[in-house]
């Protein structure tokens, strides 16, 4: 029997007040694939990723991740999905390692896994400065460290290249390749289309909440 696709959206719409951010989007992504998500600001990329991450519930339509229905089993779905969003989900007053340790304990992972993830992303274990002092690049690396700590089968990256210098960009590209090599299903939303096309196998373009295959 064929495995369920990694991600499946069926006629998903999302309304915020009077504004429709997504209008009847349908999508199917095979396991291990990498989808490039493009569109202008406000076209619904972030909303789409947030719906997939179950951060928000759609106003209508069905969301399935690895065969699990997001409406019926949100907690199980969340365990399978990692979201790298504009907000990096870290506490400004804690250090990078402390943030990762909290996450590790909540995931049931050991403290050494947290240190591992930190070092893998090039952050120092000895650095106990609060995240408040971090540069944009370091914050991005910390957010990625969270993702690597969780090791979800599905990774959703929302414009991860913003505010990164060229070194940071190439480092991030390497990490994304690592994720793909590990078999992670990927959706990458970005304006950096050149990088995106190199890293991804397919593309979905959104305009005003509607999907337009490129």
């Amino acid at each position: 029997m064929e495995l369920a696709p990694a991600l499946q959206l069926h006629e998903v719409s999302k309304r915020y007040g009077a504004r429709w951010a997504l209008v009847r989007v349908s999508l199917r992504v095979r396991r291990g694939a990498a989808l490039l998500l493009t569109g202008h600001n406000g076209s619904g990329k972030t909303t789409l990723l947030r719906v997939l991450a179950t951060a928000v519930r759609p106003s209508s339509g069905r969301v399935e991740i690895l065969g699990l229905d997001a409406a019926l089993e949100p907690e199980q779905v969340r365990a399978q999905v990692g979201l790298l969003s504009h907000a990096n989900y870290v506490y400004e007053d804690l250090s990078g390692l402390e943030n990762l340790l909290v996450l590790a304990r909540l995931l049931g992972e050991s403290a050494s896994r947290a240190s591992e993830a930190l070092e893998r992303l090039g952050l120092s274990l000895k650095d106990d400065r609060p995240v408040r002092t971090y540069s944009a690049g370091m914050r991005r690396r910390l957010a990625l460290a969270r993702l690597f700590l969780k090791q979800p089968p599905v990774a959703l990256l929302d414009e991860p290249f913003v505010e990164l210098d060229p070194t940071g960009v190439s480092e991030l590209e390497a990490r994304i390749r690592e994720l793909r090599a590990a078999g992670t299903t990927l959706i990458l939303a970005t304006h950096h289309i050149e990088q995106g096309l190199q890293l991804c196998t397919d593309r979905l373009h959104l305009e005003q909440g509607r999907s337009i295959a490129a």
Partner: protein, 228 residues
């Protein structure tokens, strides 16, 4: 390793909340001085008849704690709003009830600490005596701060996402807390002045019922408040 259950997650998050409070201890210090200033305000506004001030000392303590709680609760959620960390926790996934329990207990601990600190100030400033056993006073402070923390955490989560959050939180919270305020203030007054008619247990009973009801409601309703 297996994912932690409700209590284990609560413990992890509780430690995280305490650590955050410790990291921003300059702010906690400011909170202490704010409460002291409040007590001074009451003394000046309602003094200088020391006998009258002493009789009302119980009320002043809880008013000061209530005012400080608004600041503490507001800060507790401002921290979570900064990088959408509340959402980050939900997506781990962490049981929303664990988030509520951890934060509410952490807030209660902070407020209780503040309350205990203010007692010697009251003794010095208003010449109160501790007539009933110390343990009863500490227990009362604990129960009262638990009473503030549960609806406070629930409303703090709501207010932090609304406009005019600074005024909305106290507006929502204060009417609800009046029974707890009455019980705590009256109980404290008995601690300071003696309890010839044995009324202390009834006030404790009222406060305890309040706590049970509101912690129950908090655990029940908090997930609805934070889901999107």
């Amino acid at each position: 390793m297996r994912r932690p259950g409700l209590l284990a997650s609560t413990w992890v998050l509780f430690q995280k909340d305490l650590l955050l409070e410790w990291r921003s201890r300059a702010r906690v210090n400011a909170l202490v001085f704010f409460s002291l200033a409040t007590l001074l305000l009451f003394s000046f506004a309602l003094g200088p008849d020391t006998a009258l001030l002493r009789r009302n000392a119980g009320g002043y303590l809880w008013l000061a704690l209530l005012l400080a709680s608004v600041l503490a609760l507001g800060e507790s959620f401002r921290v979570e709003r900064e990088n959408s960390t509340l959402e980050g926790l939900r997506l781990v996934p962490v049981n929303a009830r664990a988030i509520f329990l951890a934060k509410a207990v952490a807030n209660a601990v902070l407020l209780a600490g503040l309350g205990v600190l203010l007692v010697p100030v009251l003794v010095a400033l208003l010449d109160v005596r501790i007539v009933l056993p110390w343990g009863q006073l500490l227990g009362l402070i604990g129960l009262g701060c638990l009473a503030i923390a549960a609806p406070g955490t629930l409303y703090g989560a709501i207010a932090s996402h609304a406009r005019a959050r600074d005024v909305l939180l106290p507006l929502l919270l204060f009417p609800i807390l009046i029974p707890a305020l009455v019980a705590a203030a009256k109980g404290t007054a008995l601690v300071f002045e003696g309890d010839p008619m044995g009324q202390f247990p009834s006030w404790v009973a009222l406060l305890t019922s309040f706590d049970l009801i509101y912690w129950g409601l908090g655990v029940l309703l908090f997930p609805r408040v934070v889901e999107e």
